[in-house]
Amino acid sequence: MNLFKSTVGRKILMAVTGLCLVGFISVHLIGNLSVFAGPDGINAYAEHLHALGPLVWVFRLIMLGLFAVHITFGVQLYLENRAATPDSYAVQKSLVTTFSAKTMVFTGLIILAFLLYHLLHFTVQITNPDISAHNLALDAANRLDVFTMVTKSFHNAFIVLVYIVAMVALTLHIFHGISSWVQTLGWSTGTSQDKVTAIGKLVAIAYGLAYIAIPLLLLARIVK
């Protein structure tokens, strides 16, 4: 089908999947912030999620599909664009583009690497077995103690560093991406362009700060 081969079609697929991923990081952020509400926040949240049973697996498969499409075309477009630009200029100048736009594939790959680590850390729980919820005592309400797993993890400066680097990459990625889709899906007009881009950058920074706050505030013991 043309959609999977065309220069615009593949961009549209990237924009739609990228947008779904932004939806995911929005919901995920709200869930994560429940750690600030203590064990009754995040442990209850985790229990509700697990109570969904097979739906969790449906959701995981959808996420896998989204990432597969987004990454496949992201890397493919990047390689084609490199091939289309074999020689660089002796004097190279950017007029309006941003560092974030120029590094999409790299920040994307950092996110991917982080994603694998993150799943091993909190989902499969094999990177730090001693502080994994599976190996910890249940909490007062007989729930898996996700709260202790998260807080203990983020008392480890190295783990916090990994998370912060990854969240900076995510912020850079959506700094461009969160407004780029408006253009890709053909919604921008000459007059809306600048405003949409500015709002996108602000929203990206807000996401970044919120995501980074979790490990950082726990490490600094500002939130316990």
Partner: protein, 251 residues
Amino acid sequence: MDLTLHVWRQKGPQDKGKLETYPAKGISSDMSFLEMLDEVNDGLIKSGQEPIAFDHDCREGICGMCSQVINGRPHGKQEGTTVCQLHMRQYNDGDEIFIEPWRAKAFPVQKDLIVDRTSLDVIMQAGGYVSCHTGGVDDANALLIPKPTADYAMDAAECIGCGACIAACPNSSAMLFTSAKVAQLAALPQGKPEARKRVLAMTQAILDEGFGNCTNHYECEAACPKGISVKFIAKLNREYLKTMMPTSTGA
């Protein structure tokens, strides 16, 4: 004023090419950039050297032939200006100026600063036209077109096909050039019958000719001597999306 030029010299398509340094002495600030190069070439010819080959034709900013990246900016530092309309008053005595050809796989260098832009013609041939019957000419204004639509199409039609957008694009994407024509014709009643076919054919030609994919850097708009807006790329994307919708006639 006296300047130092670093100019890309390449004997032919197969040659590797390299930057050569030339002094440009006694340049008047009233000269255009191309006249400055004419002077330098005069000197090169008199001293038995090969003059610098560069493209140019109208020298009034309408043909799109002049194609030089000057200090990293296609068409030089003055916004909304082609190289031929750039004047030496923009420069100061003692300036160093790097002059390079458009760089993209789809624009092979022929000689020095001259690149082959046939690839743009191929994109145009793929769909940058409207089919019409010959014969009696329609009455002028028989077909009503709202003024804002006419203005919109006219803004898009300002593209002179110079290729600066591709030269400026980190991906060597030809989206701004292509979108200008797609948007111009899609906005007008004469262009609507072939709108679907056009956007599919022209975007396919982009890839076939070895251009890259647009990733919304907007360098093209900033470099365009005619101020073509990236809103036309959004319009092209809309036109592409429309090809996925069923038509009211069921086709």
